[in-house]
Symmetry: C2
Subunit: 384 residues, 2 copies
């Protein structure tokens, strides 16, 4: 006997994709990974780091996926970065053994997470204040763990990190003096430099950041303090960070995907990424002349770094994505009648990959026109 | 015997809040609901609709929470709206019996969802194209269900919906002629009118929209077609929609929370909402003079309708949220030394509530300074 109430309680949206499906049959909006481009991006960044003798510790905030972290490590990465402690949990649970929290944190809940993670993985964290050092040292002592702590210095970003050699020395001294801590070295990250459009601008900003980082390292060395790790850099400046002679480790994230913002930059140098991340969308209304409306809006892609770009699909050359509402993308139809587009599937390049991935549950990974793998975005929404 | 690998595999981030916790102990960033304000907003909107004899069908896209939908229905709402078919599933599974999809859709995957939902709930959907009517009719016939279909007309939004009485008539005729469909009436929604800052602007835009909607209804009536439902309106225009004499049903969503964008509007009229949604955040870096950095950025709150506003917390009167990075909020410190703020917990008002709620897994609901309830955001990320 069927029980309608019981049946109803088990209702779940159907999986938008199954392995083996044709890409054009995947329910939209879906976050698609072009595996050929992804593989090439992973390999190229690893080769860049290897050639320079610099460790690659990719930033998992960009993708939030255990499957991707495992592939990065299989290719040669030494571990991963996370930006938040809670974000590190699915990676730790999956056996990723070396995790760097490239960020500061304050509060009892955060300290408890750091201690728990340190019991299971080789954890390092950042500080830029003596009060953070004292709190982490006390929590580590109580928890019976030893935590590696890097001091963060600002090298142009103007966000976190101390801005004087004296403040840096005080941090290093305090870390070194705490039996429950281990001084891990220096974090020197310049986020703004990543996003300069021109290659020469990025090169110059990266060189200035490396120069500042080098001066901080030298200051510590003169006081008898070695920096086992100098970490920083990102997708936009990796080639310059690698050749700096200062960074022992780079932490790029977006390079696996490339997004609309990065895609608009110049890449004439030794790292040339390909677009590997797309959002597929369906045109679901063409009722008004000159307008087509698709099913991918604010809740499917992040618009903080610009609206998405049309990549492919019927009519994509005469469409422009001009406005994102919650669940609608408004497309301007240039020079043509839009009526024929109803039901068309288009591929968009999201403006910013990190917060776009954070909106979705799964990557639909495609090769040769078919769905080859499905990767959970396990750290979606883990911002504590 | 402990098994470290097994222990590690079970690692999960700790729950950021438990019922009974003091609000100040909740791990940040957390999405907080002030239950007193929420209850008042729910009651006031219901009273407004009741007084006008208009049905209230709140839009669940704003909150994506079964617990909230149940409270809205307990207060007198006739059902809910969803913007996407997949979004409707958790509500249907929880027993919400009347669901209106206030949107068009195209594609086999979407049709399959509509048929499945129609087996379990009183489902209505929107169309603005004869091809959608034909597709839904065929799917409903094959699936052995009958689906209520509303024709959408554009009344100023310029997005979806037909823009002529003739096109509307053709839709109504086609729906009426399909044995597997039921003509439900007219959807006439003007999103842009909701967001005008001045009360008189909203009043005038809402009156124009209602006038257009009324003309469409009259056109159909003259052809012998009755509109059982005329649905539209939103939080910003609800009081005008209610008094229009045209709308039989309003579909506001954000009124339960009020966000930064709506909060900046004038509310001198018969509906006066209170701020009920906040994001709590901790200052985790004060290393640089004039800057404090908090742990709530792009991945914790949506910035499409503006940066968040400081609501409360130590120093909030001399702080300004000036930039959102992925996991950082950059606060400008005015007229004071920011050092003392390290570890301070602040409450922010997100600029746009709908996409902010879509980023989070749970509402932490507070009353009298303590956590009173935890509500899952069950439809988070369901955009298919």
């Amino acid at each position: 006997m069927r029980n309608p109430v019981h049946d109803r309680a088990r209702l779940q949206p159907p999986a938008p994709a199954r392995i083996g499906d044709r890409v054009e049959d995947v329910g939209t909006p879906a976050l698609l990974v072009d595996l050929d481009a992804f593989d090439q991006n992973v390999a190229r960044m690893q080769a860049l780091a290897d050639a320079a003798g610099v460790a690659l510790r990719p930033h998992a905030k960009a993708h939030k996926s255990v499957a991707i972290a495992q592939r990065q490590i299989a290719a040669g990465a030494v571990g991963i970065c996370c930006q938040k402690l809670s974000e590190a949990y699915p990676f730790a649970a999956a056996g990723i053994a070396r995790i760097h929290i490239s960020n500061e944190f304050v509060g009892a809940d955060k300290l408890a997470m750091a201690v728990e993670l340190a019991r299971h993985v080789d954890l390092s964290v950042c500080v830029d204040d003596l009060r953070q050092v004292a709190a982490i040292a006390a929590a580590a002592t109580t928890g019976g763990v030893r935590i590696t702590v890097l001091a963060e210095a600002d090298v142009g970003q103007g966000r976190c990190g101390v801005d004087s050699p004296e403040a840096l020395s005080r941090l290093a001294d305090a870390i070194g003096a705490a039996p429950s801590l281990r001084f891990g070295g220096l974090q020197a990250y310049h986020g703004g430099a990543q996003h300069l459009a021109h290659w020469t601008q990025r090169r110059d900003a990266a060189r200035r950041a490396a120069e500042q980082a080098g001066a901080y390292v030298a200051h510590l060395r003169a006081r008898g303090i070695a920096c086992p790790v100098v970490t920083g850099g990102g997708s936009g400046t990796a080639e310059f960070d690698c050749e700096s002679g200062v960074y022992t480790e780079i932490q790029p994230g977006s390079y696996v995907f490339l997004d609309g913002h990065y895609g608009a930059s110049e890449w004439p140098g030794r790292f040339q990424p390909r677009h590997g991340l797309f959002l597929s969308t369906t045109v679901m209304s063409t009722a008004r002349a000159g307008v087509a409306v698709c099913d991918a809006g604010l809740k499917s892609l992040a618009v903080d770094s610009g609206l998405p770009r049309l990549w492919s699909g019927p009519g994509s050359q005469w469409l422009r994505y001009v406005a994102a509402n919650d669940e609608h993308g408004v497309l301007q139809v240039l020079d043509q009648d839009g009526q024929s587009l109803l039901g068309s599937k288009l591929w968009l390049v999201p403006g910013h990959c990190d917060p776009t991935a954070n909106l979705r549950a799964q990557y639909v990974c495609c090769r040769d026109g078919h769905v080859a793998e499905l990767w959970d975005i396990a750290a979606r929404g883990l911002s504590c």
